[in-house]
Symmetry: C2
Subunit: 336 residues, 2 copies
Amino acid sequence: MKISNTKNKRPTLQDVADLVGVTKMTVSRFLRNPEQVSVPLQTKIADALEDLGYIPNRAPDILSKSKSHAIGVLLPSLTNQVFAEVIRGIESILEPAGYQTMLAHYGYSKEAEESRIATLLSYGVDGLIISESYHTERVRKMLSVAGIPVIEIMDSVSPPIEQAIGIDNQAAAYAMTQFMIQRGRQKIVYFAARMDQRTLFKIKGYEAAMHDNGLAPLCLKTNSASSFTLGAKFLKDALQQQPDTDGIFCTNDDLAIGALYACQKAGIKVPEDIGIAGFHGHDISRAMVPLLATVITPREEMGRLAAEHLLSRLQGNPVSQRIIDLPFQIEAGESI
Amino acid sequence: MKISNTKNKRPTLQDVADLVGVTKMTVSRFLRNPEQVSVPLQTKIADALEDLGYIPNRAPDILSKSKSHAIGVLLPSLTNQVFAEVIRGIESILEPAGYQTMLAHYGYSKEAEESRIATLLSYGVDGLIISESYHTERVRKMLSVAGIPVIEIMDSVSPPIEQAIGIDNQAAAYAMTQFMIQRGRQKIVYFAARMDQRTLFKIKGYEAAMHDNGLAPLCLKTNSASSFTLGAKFLKDALQQQPDTDGIFCTNDDLAIGALYACQKAGIKVPEDIGIAGFHGHDISRAMVPLLATVITPREEMGRLAAEHLLSRLQGNPVSQRIIDLPFQIEAGESI
DNA sequence: CCATGTTTTGTTACACGTAACATTATCATA
DNA sequence: TATGATAATGTTACGTGTAACAAAACATGG
């Protein structure tokens, strides 16, 4: 029997056991199922645990059972409101199920994505929820070798590694563009930032709708992050390149709101002079004046579903549906 | 020597070693310092690693060296914009330093905080960044027993467990209230949601400023989360309880913006009829029309500093400064 | 070609909790 | 009281990477 540690390392089961005068196995039993231990020991062990402030250590479990009870969640960004809501959805399911989420983000960089996935796997996550539909060969290999369930979210079109839950961004953008055209808009400009896969899909949908109606698309693009300020800047650019612009469709609400404010400052009336539409339908778009036209996406539900399907897979169930395509909704608001 | 695993478990160092025909120790050496291994083996091992798609496993390290290279970050909420920016600050430092952040949140519940901290510690995090200044006895005990550096953020007033980095919320609220009064506001109402420690400090500051100017404070409170909609609801309540309200100071920008929109809808002119101020100075408050009066807080810097000080502590340096009080800034905007 | 030093590779043990098996204590019943 | 059954506790081994030590392979100089 070892003497209780003198170094001020955090206490182990052995330390607790030494204090009580039993083996660590007995303490371990108490922790998993107190009934398995004699009544007098139960109190003694409970006291010792309390005394020493014992905190369990997951490392041996991860080591021997390859079960960490942690789920890796990898998203392009954490500051984007969209992902914050997805996370909320994920956690609302995982947390009550006793899983810890390990959150990581990669700032839309493919190399960073590789390294983040490697890190998450090195911590032995039991499953992974990742974003985007395009992944490098290396990432695909790592995921296949890891042998854990993987769910891709945000996009419902590209063939998933195993299972995808998302929306059809292209169809959503097509629908909104079509809607604007029906409302009489002709010179609609698309504002795009952060040129990821989803944005490209949206641009495709926008261009298809314009084309189908015999209209000329004009798309302002940048690789930098979207912001209110960027929306304002884009508005200026749009009016310069196409002075008779009568509609603006933005890849997200932030750009749309920024453009809308810029219009207000410039004395351009919305929706009389220019109609503006956003994408996602965040809280603010549902509260502002005028109410923002937007595509409402089920962000929180997407997270919830992803977590639910992941848990189901962890319980041994097979992939029930490779692609889950969630509905979006066109919200007319007052800005169109 | 073991025969390579037939089960499709993820490959271990042993699998790689078997493939090359050396011991795992040699492979381990190659991973840590390739020079330590003979040149012909270097390529062979590299190939084998690539072939098998080897992903390192941190569990043994956590077990034997108690070093996870992971930092726990525990915040009350993830969806709140404030914390998103704090996280960005934290990650901007930790990620390049090779640390993985383990993010958790507790929805402002003290019991949840306890359990999240226990979880984070059970994963062997090397350090902890937590929010709020009040913690249960249990939490304090766990942290002391864990023996890892802990940094508290958001608040710079309460005596920290070890080290705190934040702002003086009470002073900030006092300053903004004083500023509104100087601008001629007399019947200022405070909107408070999510009654956490920081909100209580802000209310104190507001009430002190009102009192020092011989004015009667009126504070609308709720425990639920803040939102634009709540700001609108509070505006209605305020006008009902005090019809001649001429100023509104909100515990955050969301409430303020919600109130501002509600004014616009109700035909109340801002700032002519009512002055409105928020707290934090998020992007949108700096872009909207009218520009929102707000207290600008150094959210991202707070995160950066917390991470930097934590890293310094991990390198063995002592606490340099128990409390780091960051400056805030009164932004007049156009809504006051 | 030997002795010595250096480089390269191998061996052993360890961190901690628990499954699986082994042993001891306790109890009821013949 | 002896016996078998059951309850309570103990022992051993394991998972994976690496530090510490040991051994082997190789190089250098006399």
